[in-house]
Symmetry: C2
Subunit: 204 residues, 2 copies
Amino acid sequence: MHRSLTPKGEATRARIIEGAAQVLRESNVVSATLDDIRQQTGTSKSQLFHYFPEGKDQLLLAVAQYEADRVLDDQQPYLSCLTSWDAWYQWRDVVVERYRSQGDTCPLSALFLQIGRTTPGARAVVVELLKRWQAELAAGIRAMRDGGHLPASYDVDEAAAALLAGVQGGVSIMMSTGRSTHLEAAIDVGIRHLRMGGRELARP
Amino acid sequence: MHRSLTPKGEATRARIIEGAAQVLRESNVVSATLDDIRQQTGTSKSQLFHYFPEGKDQLLLAVAQYEADRVLDDQQPYLSCLTSWDAWYQWRDVVVERYRSQGDTCPLSALFLQIGRTTPGARAVVVELLKRWQAELAAGIRAMRDGGHLPASYDVDEAAAALLAGVQGGVSIMMSTGRSTHLEAAIDVGIRHLRMGGRELARP
DNA sequence: CCTAAAATGAACTGGGAAGTCCATTTTTAG
DNA sequence: CTAAAAATGGACTTCCCAGTTCATTTTAGG
């Protein structure tokens, strides 16, 4: 990516990403300018282009990657050990609290809208995030199944997909309404569905 | 709203909104300019400001309202008569098909990002849409309950909220991945949960 | 008809924001 | 120590796009 970066350069680059992330969280992504970022990070215009030669989009993509990494980190250690019903409820509380405190800003969705979902890089970041997220949920469900809390025939991947969709939608609705009702309902109903063992009736 | 609008003016105004909607669906919202809309609708700059004196934001908000109205319309007549399991599955198919054909563009989420969620008008549009959508789902669930397909104690509003969140998240994931897997899983699991009667265990 | 209001066309303005350039300072490595 | 490479400062350029202005054409209504 870079031929050489001194420790100082590395630090500056990191500072730019973190500062940019903060600016994007505070102001609207659309209206955030390079000058805002420059001011926030205490850098000069030439530095921004020194570290991100392809310009603003490259910087925004780096911020998106940074934010994507944080999404799962913020759910740890709970997300990785969904091995009891109690753990599931703890995870629930962490997720709700994380997004509630975030308020009505979703840096990621905003960023992707700005960069364009179709950009290969942008799509890769979000797809990778969703994939890892769903894998963690699936692992948790599988653990419950193997622990005998769910029937052996249970469709783990479908349940994980549905739960992930619920969380995404709950967050997205919270952005608009400012209320966490839907996020809570989605997770609660999702967990309850697990606890019922998801016995299904055939589609007529 | 307007002191007087001749039929011709009315038609032009409508043409602007529809043309703008089309432009916003085809290109990225962020990069769409008034000149694009002007060209698409065969109007002049002064006409845009004649019909939307407050400028671009006002026009975008009108487009958002237009798109919001279409969201529920496109689900009719199925959304309004969810009175049998068969009807639920028909609705499911319509929703999946609607969003699948829409591809990876979500005019609404893009618009709201651009206008800013905090703008009173913008927030009102999306909140109203969600409210009506959820009310329709709740009516359907209530119908099933009253028809004896669900226990009388069933929490209709929570189920409707969770289902709506699932749909939202499924659509949002489809935007990123291009696949309808999650949307289908969310709705399927949601309906299945209904069919199981949503019997719940107490939270420990 | 005829006049006032509404609708339209098109050139123009002003500002803001991305991106460039080059001089200067700092760091690295031999 | 010193020369090359990296990091930094900040003014400057360029251009795009929202919004304005005003003249002209069309429509409505008495």
